[in-house]
């Protein structure tokens, strides 16, 4: 009896030992401050679903990044700053090396954790939102507003309209209406569009829509009187389908309406029904499931029943693909950092920061990842934490988004000038001495 007992104990111990050896596989922890309830749940569930699916793909298909498996934990923020701060604090010490990157997908939370993350040495990555002037990496070493910012986007939209008209000089005397969400987010468009209006000589009329924006009768009456050549829709949530329906009502052509990337998802057009047909919107990622990277997710993740999306029809939607972009960039930055700090090792936030700063996703790399045309090529440097600042335009054909342009550039010197000016003011206010980028390795 006693023998049997000790034998059992021995086996149990051996099992424990084996499992702890198996547990010695290096793991990289990524904290996800997600929002799946609340007013922005439609966007949040898509973005975080795509992001988790991509990380799952790396684990399932490649066995992690050079053998380092990705682990993650979600923390519900409800898109609320206070909850976001709580999530940041809760997640930052998790995993063997702590949280390695924080991507709040909310401008408010970004601002709340900006200073803290620099102290804790955790990079904050904000793709297509957040603090615009953080693109100046000399003042904001820990913040990465990657791919493009609101200012680059506004400039790219004007360039797109100019190209449609047949040249930037044709914009002179044209009337452009800006229908914006009356919030800090909507007003982010003002300074840059004012400058562009002065530069190209078009007339800009700004019309505010109060949150949430489900009542736009007076605004569209005003637009009907104004008869603008184009309307830029800087909307959010229910404001977008309402604007499209109202435009249809007053007979304003949707082909002349250009939306921002928070106006250009299936969630914005489908509720508007046939009224959305012809509407164009900018995006730093495109919709569609016919990219190799999405096909791989379907095969390796959903094929094994490990997918995150409850509604599989949303795979390949704009928000879902945006999440895939988040995952892809995060993974590539970790991969880059491993090249410097040791392949197959779990890295700290400080090391991953280096990976983001030296990220270089060229066409060849994107092709290898199966994401050609899915997101723009991206090269980050010490001074420039934004990257290309380009967007693609997609048009809603009544059923789905169709890409109608190549990557459209922004007015880089103008935007970069504004970013540097604003960052310098911040540095002065906070007493930060900008880094000397020639000394960064």
């Amino acid at each position: 009896m006693k023998l049997k007992h000790s034998a059992l104990l021995g086996t149990a111990l051996a099992g424990l030992l084996a499992s702890s050896i198996a547990g010695a596989v290096e793991e990289q922890f990524i904290g996800l401050p997600s929002y799946r309830v609340g007013p922005y749940a439609a966007g949040g569930s898509g973005v975080f679903g795509g992001w988790i699916d991509y990380m799952q793909l790396i684990n399932e298909r490649d066995g992690g990044i050079n053998g380092v498996r990705l682990t993650w934990e979600e923390c519900e923020t409800e898109y609320n700053n206070a909850r976001g701060v709580e999530c940041y604090e809760r997640l930052k010490k998790k995993g063997s090396t702590g949280n390695t990157v924080f991507q709040p997908v909310s401008t408010g939370i970004t601002y709340s954790v900006l200073d803290k993350a620099a102290q804790d040495k955790i990079p904050v990555v904000t793709i297509g939102y957040g603090r615009t002037d953080a693109a100046d990496g000399r003042v904001f070493p820990w913040v990465f507003p990657l791919i493009t910012t609101y200012w680059s986007q506004a400039s790219a939209i004007v360039n797109f309209i100019g190209a449609k008209e047949g040249g930037m000089d044709k914009l002179k005397g044209k009337k452009i209406g800006l229908l914006y969400h009356d919030s800090a987010y909507g007003k982010e468009s003002h300074a840059i569009l004012d400058k562009l209006a002065a530069k190209h000589g078009f007339e800009l009329t700004k019309i505010a829509v109060a949150h949430p924006g489900n009542e736009q009768q007076s605004q569209w009456l005003q637009l009907r009187q104004l008869k603008p050549d184009y309307v830029i829709l800087w909307g959010w949530g229910v404001m977008n389908p309402t604007a499209l329906k109202a435009a249809a009502k007053v007979g304003y052509p949707r082909e002349k309406m250009v939306g921002v990337w928070w106006s250009g998802a299936e969630e914005d057009t489908v509720p508007a029904g046939p009224a959305a047909k012809g509407f164009t919107a900018a995006g730093f990622n495109v919709a569609g499931a016919n990219y190799p990277v999405v096909a791989d997710i379907k095969k390796f993740v959903y094929g094994k029943g490990k997918g995150n999306m409850e509604d599989k029809a949303r795979i390949g939607s704009v928000y879902y693909n945006r999440g895939v972009v988040h995952g892809l960039i995060t993974v590539e930055a970790i991969r880059k950092a491993q090249e410097k700090y040791g392949k197959g090792k779990a890295l700290t936030g400080e090391q991953v920061r280096w990976g983001f700063e030296n990220l270089n996703l060229d066409e060849a790399r994107l092709r290898a990842l199966g994401a050609t045309g899915f997101l723009p090529p991206l090269k980050i440097s010490c001074a420039d934490h934004e990257g290309p600042g380009v967007v693609k335009f997609q048009q809603w054909d009544g059923n789905q988004w169709k890409v109608i342009s190549d990557w459209v550039e922004s007015d880089r010197p103008l935007v970069r000038g504004m970013i540097e000016e604003s960052a310098a003011a911040y540095a002065k206010e906070k007493g930060i001495k900008p880094r000397d980028c020639s000394k960064e390795g």
Binding site: N81, S112, R131, T132, D182, A184, E188, S422
Partner: protein
């Protein structure tokens, strides 16, 4: 047994009128202060200080503010978050625009600015009551947030409308660490809560309660309605304003109008309903309940159910449980958590010989 007050005699009016007439309460209160004022900052880790305790204290202060107005003076308000916003933006602008502005003075001025705005929006209370007044304060909620977005001067022309709160420093000491920020918050909240407790026991507080119970009767026996009601609005907004400034400076670190939306106003209202209307203790209990329960559920639900539920369902389940618990507590004790404590206290005083 432990809670017997036998042998404790009051031999002067001062002793009769103290906040805690029973010795055990005084000891308990001192211990509580020592635990939260000394032990907690020494022992608690950053997560607890920064993400749990500091917000509970700040929301308690806001709830005290609303409790003064709604619980004691009987004026229903849905604008608490807006008054917090006034406080936060006032503190930001005072520190930004006045050179060498001491933080504590800025805090007081922020409270005064909020009080001024509060009085302004309290004026309708002289004519309208109950739900109609709630609607009038709802207007304050939307109007103030709109003004703060509309005029970029308030946010110092920040392009995104979100501004970073300056560093807090008092007499050259910079409050950067979570411990320092917590202690600062704790001291401000403790002093203001004690002041509130004394205020509601004074003639002013009695005037508020008289107006709450029946304003015509109060007027007949000589209370000036206008003064009493507006004072309640002023004091209440002062508390909310200071809470807003603390929220920006010792907790979140940023100031943005959208953060102070109607949701937050409702949250503060729920705090006093759950905690106990017309009770300072209730404000603390309610704030703790409303702040901590969602965090607890967020930790608990995934741990209990794991991946069995979809992530979206798990998040929604938390809200369902949260709402269910609120209803449960309101059915079990409609007068709030503070009343539960009071009942427990009465039982304890007789225990173990209830007859």
């Amino acid at each position: 047994m432990l809670y017997r007050e036998a042998g404790q005699f009051k031999s002067s009016y001062a002793e009769d009128g103290r906040i805690f007439p029973i010795r055990q309460d005084r000891v308990g209160f001192t211990l509580l202060m020592l635990v939260f004022g000394v032990a907690v900052p020494l022992l608690a880790n950053e997560y607890w200080l920064k993400a749990i305790l500091t917000p509970v204290l700040i929301f308690s202060l806001a709830a005290i503010g609303l409790n003064i107005l709604t619980g004691y003076a009987g004026q229903l308000s849905l604008g608490s978050a807006a008054f917090m916003a006034v406080g936060a933006f006032a503190a930001y602008n005072f520190i930004l625009r006045v050179d060498g502005m001491p933080f504590l003075l800025a805090l007081a001025l922020a409270g005064l600015a909020a009080a001024l705005v509060g009085v302004l929006f309290g004026l309708p209370s002289l004519r309208i009551k109950g739900f109609y007044l709630a609607v009038a304060t709802l207007a304050a909620q939307f109007f103030i947030v709109w003004v703060l977005v509309k005029f970029p001067w308030f946010s110092n022309h920040s392009s995104s409308g979100v501004v970073t709160a300056q560093e807090v420093s008092i007499l050259g000491y910079a409050f950067v660490s979570p411990e320092a920020k917590y202690v600062l918050t704790f001291l401000v909240v403790a002093v203001l809560a004690l002041a509130a407790k004394n205020l509601v026991r004074s003639a002013t507080g009695r005037a508020w309660m008289a107006v709450r119970d029946m304003d015509v009767a109060a007027q007949v026996i000589g209370f000036r309605l206008m003064r009493t009601k507006l004072l309640a609005f002023a004091v209440s907004s002062f508390y909310c304003g200071v809470a807003g400034a603390l929220y920006a400076y010792t907790y979140i670190g940023t100031v943005e109008p959208e953060g102070f939306n109607l949701d937050l106003s409702f949250k503060i209202l729920f705090m006093i309903i759950i905690g106990g209307v017309g009770s300072i203790l209730g404000a603390f209990l309610g704030a703790a309940f409303i702040v901590l329960l969602p965090i607890l559920l967020d930790n608990l639900v995934p741990a209990l159910f794991g991946d069995a539920l979809g992530a979206g369902f798990a998040s929604n389940l938390q809200l369902i449980i949260f709402g269910g618990l609120i209803i449960f507590f309101l059915i079990v004790e409609p007068h709030g958590l503070a009343r539960l404590w009071q009942i427990a206290k009465e039982k304890l005083r007789l225990w173990p010989f209830p007859h």
